[in-house]
Amino acid sequence: MNRSLVPIAAFALLVVVLAIGILRAPQKTVIQSVLLGKPAPEFVLPELGRDSSFDSRSMRGRWFLFNVWGTWCAECRAEHEMLLEISRSGRLPLVGLNWKDEDGLATQWLQDLGNPYDHVALDREGRVAIDWGVYGAPETFLVDADGKIVYKHVGPMTPEVWQRQFLARLPPPVARPLSAPSAEPSSSPPQAPVVAPSPAPVS
């Protein structure tokens, strides 16, 4: 009978819908950031190991990595070696956001494990992390020379992620050394007098 096919068809449809849901579930555990393609939130925070504060606008004109970390975060330790490697590669500067941590612990951590960061901003109250839509450390953002967020990775940085998601999005390396401000011509808006930031010595 034609009629008896209706429940079977309905059941088959349900199976298809649920199967799509299950197959797509692994991607859903990572929540897409709404900030992709939008200007990175600006901030001024105290900087670790310096008397002055760090102004995110000082990075204008350069691509940089923005890495959210804390000494309380086990995954951050796991990715640290990779961050050091990225820093050594000299492809782009790293800005660390030390999220809800203690300054002393952060200093100790960088002394013990090595310091991949050109700047470490101290987000003691966690406000800047919220502005960036951070929901769990470590998170790493790729910011372009115009100050736009190009990509965000949630979880520890790995060689594969670095290769596939970050290096692939970066413009080809420039011949000039990284520390030169405004290396890219497209990235020099007239109102941005970039104060030459002295590159942090990697201890």
């Binding site: 929540i31 897409q32 950031s33 709404v34 900030l35 809800k100 109250e125 966690g126 406000r127 992390a129 919220i130 502005d131 960036w132 839509g133 929901y135 769990g136």
Partner: protein, 149 residues
């Protein structure tokens, strides 16, 4: 003691309320001075998702980020922002996912409309089935009576 006995139910209810009271106080002890703001704060913090734990609201979650987000909600309330402005503030940082009640948009329209459509569909089928059965039953009785159909 059976729960069905008349003395069991009040006892059970009292116990449930007692436990609920503990949960309600445990996570977020902060109260705003203005009772009206406090009421809105309660409501808002229950409809915002804790992004770390995902199946709890920020009102129910003890994790650090939920506490920070509650602080933002309080400060925005005190600064005179409307509920919608606060929701938008959160969505601009964490996306629609932070709202437990999804916004109505082209993408979420089916979410909102599907229950109504399914209800109408189900009712339609039910009415048809009931009418058919009534007709069959009536027909059967007529046969029993031996009267012409």
């Amino acid at each position: 003691m059976s729960l069905r006995s008349s003395s069991g139910w009040p006892m059970l209810l009292a116990l449930m309320l007692l436990f609920a009271a503990g949960i309600a106080r445990a996570v977020d002890p902060i109260e705003l001075e203005d009772p009206l703001l406090q009421q809105r704060y309660r409501a808002l913090s229950h409809e915002l998702r804790c992004m770390q734990c995902q199946n709890q609201s920020i009102a129910d979650s003890p994790v650090g980020l939920a506490g920070d987000l509650r602080r933002e909600v309080r400060e925005l309330l005190v600064a005179g922002k409307s509920d919608d402005e606060i929701r938008t503030w959160m969505r601009n940082r964490y996306g629609d996912f932070i709202l437990f009640r999804p916004v109505f948009s082209a993408r979420t329209a089916w979410l909102w409309l599907a229950p109504g459509v399914l209800l109408v569909l189900g009712l339609g089928i039910a009415v048809r089935v009931i009418r058919q059965r009534a007709a069959v039953a009536a027909g059967g009785r007529d046969d029993d009576d031996g009267s012409p159909a």
